[in-house]
């Protein structure tokens, strides 16, 4: 993929650091969403591209940014009818007086320009309307086909500047697309952008596929497939479509996860009714056994520094969460609340572990890695399988309906207030959020 992100050197100078006049609170959950204006981006010269003309792209880029920021729960984008037209010269000289009457605190402006080499430049400017000051600007050069990525990068620029949190909009989801009767669901791997766009299927549905995960390089997936009635973990190269068994042996392997540096895969293997956690080099080779309790040890997830692994085990009688060193030593239980705890996932920021709690129902929650500060974020009939956004501030999970068994994808932020359905063409389960794209 050809992709270049750069400040627009001569055309657009670096914005001088400005004291944040405005900011949004990601975890507090008390403040109301910030009113923000994201008008249609003008073009310096109307030009055709394979993705449409630059004028229409300006409208579509603004729409993508609007949806991103709204879905974050931190912003309240102005309705289209409240927006004002922006001319190209106004992009760097906003009509602050005019925007001041709309109630918007922040203003996102930009432009879409076709370059001579077939690329597009998307300019992205963030203004504080009341302080009448520029907060940041950034330009992105993309192939026309990647115009949505430029829009997501602009959303990330705005989000990062105003929240102080890391970016996450320019990222992908791999998940299991589901259709068909409850007794015989057809399941296919699919990849899409974080907002549901650019959806494509990876497998054809002939075999049950489960629990995909991205490698840090985003070019490799691990997942479980029932191909040839042998449920096993496969390592899959997205570019070539080639796949291989993670380990070739007669037992069921499942619950695969990459280490943060991509060098290892942890997975579970069931042998004669006993499931333990193993580690294998991602490039292939022999597996190392990390747990050996007589019980089900599964759902291993590395800490972001790779030094520890959180996993679930029913060694105490029911599923609970444990943390161990990456070599399997020093296994300590961390969950002690009511009910059972499953599918732990270490946040990419390291500060939290997301999990499924099984009490009366199935809910997604978070706790500190030492087990303190438990907070339940969702409440459905069956919410399960959390996955972290690249910045560790949003969780995607799947919700299964009572009766029909239909599942779909949802996201929720750390406040638990901003819960949204993630659009998919069919039903969806087992979402895994990929890393931020470069």
């Amino acid at each position: 993929m050809r992709w270049a992100a750069a400040f627009l050197g001569a055309v657009i100078a670096f914005a001088a650091p400005v004291h944040a006049q405005i900011e949004v609170d990601v975890v507090g959950g008390i403040s109301a969403p910030m009113p923000i204006a994201i008008p249609v981006m003008p073009t310096p010269a109307q030009a055709g591209t394979p993705a449409g003309d630059t004028g229409s792209l300006g409208a579509r880029v603004a729409e993508v940014i609007t949806n991103d920021l709204r879905n974050s729960g931190l912003f309240r984008p102005l309705a289209e009818s409240a927006l004002r037209p922006v001319t190209f010269p106004q992009v760097t000289a906003p009509d602050f007086a005019g925007w001041g009457t709309t109630g918007a605190q922040a203003l996102v402006q930009g432009f879409v320009q076709a370059n001579g080499d077939g690329t597009l430049t998307v300019g992205c400017y963030l203004y504080d309307v009341f302080a009448r000051s520029e907060l940041t600007r950034q330009g992105f050069v993309v192939r026309p086909a990647d115009w949505r990525r430029a829009a997501h990068k602009c959303s990330d620029t705005v989000y990062t500047r105003l929240s102080g949190e890391g970016p996450y909009f320019d990222s992908q989801i791999v998940y299991v697309s589901e259709t068909g009767p409850k007794q015989h669901r057809t399941k296919r791997l699919a990849i899409m952008d974080q907002d549901g766009a650019n959806h494509r299927f990876i497998t054809n549905g002939q075999s049950i596929v489960l629990t995909p995960r991205f490698a840090p390089n985003q070019q490799t997936l691990v997942f479980m497939s029932f191909e040839n009635d042998r449920p096993r973990v496969y390592v899959y190269d997205v570019g070539s479509g080639r796949k291989r068994l993670v380990v070739d042996q007669p037992n069921m392997t499942f619950a695969p996860r990459f280490s943060p540096d991509g060098r290892y895969i942890v997975f579970s293997m069931a042998v004669n009714g006993n499931t333990d956690i193993y580690r294998v080099p991602a490039s292939g080779g022999g597996a190392t056994r990390l747990t050996s309790s007589p019980g089900i040890d599964t759902a291993a997830s590395y800490s972001p520094d790779g030094s520890k692994i959180v996993f679930e085990s029913d060694r105490s009688g029911g599923q609970q969460l444990y943390v161990m060193n990456a070599d399997g030593s020093n296994q300590q239980r961390i969950s002690f609340g009511g009910g059972r705890y499953a599918t732990p996932v270490w946040s990419p920021r390291g500060d939290l572990i997301a999990f499924t709690r099984i009490g009366g129902g199935f809910a997604v929650g978070i706790m500190s890695p030492d087990g303190s500060g438990e907070k339940i974020l969702t409440n459905g009939w069956q919410d399960e399988g959390p996955s972290w956004s690249p910045n560790g501030r949003v969780i995607m999970f799947f919700r299964t309906a009572q009766g029909s068994g239909k599942a779909d994808l949802w996201s929720v932020d750390l406040t638990g207030v901003n819960e949204r359905r993630v659009p998919t063409p069919l039903d969806g389960s087992d979402p895994a959020w990929g890393p931020l794209r470069p």
Binding site: D229, A270, G273, E384, G385
Partner: protein, 177 residues
Amino acid sequence: MANTTAKLLLTAALIATAACSKKKPAELPPPPPQETTAPEPAPEGQTGEVGTTVLPGSRADFVQQAGSDTVHFATDSHDVDAEAQAILAKQAEWLQRYPNVAVTVEGHADERGTREYNLALGERRANAAKDFLVNNGVAASRISVISYGKERPVAIGSDEAAWAQNRRAVTVVPIGG
């Protein structure tokens, strides 16, 4: 006349059983009539429909003779209870009678568990059933296991009755086996 009616009913039951047996995973067929003897071959020279019959050593025969190909489990348990033991003992008897048949024991879980744990739980259940068969004289090499976790329920409800049916291990005799 009464005898003919009984024969016809029996044939219908056998056809139903045979049709049922083609489903995978197999569902419980209607119990065979116990007091009737095996069907006699249709008299020579009669025309009409081609009937089906249960062939010895077949999947339908296994289900008929063992009473069921399925045993059930309590929530989050892989204990083989008395009812399951009785069924598995009959399955083991049958398997000893047909030593050339290799079977697959499928382990399943209900929907009220997380996906990966349920895969492990299904594997546990399949192995519990396998272990019982092995302890009752069936060579371990004749039994393979597979877990479907919660991926292949037979009962589609979201209630205790449905979940009880779905927590199961199914001994699958190959079609034509």
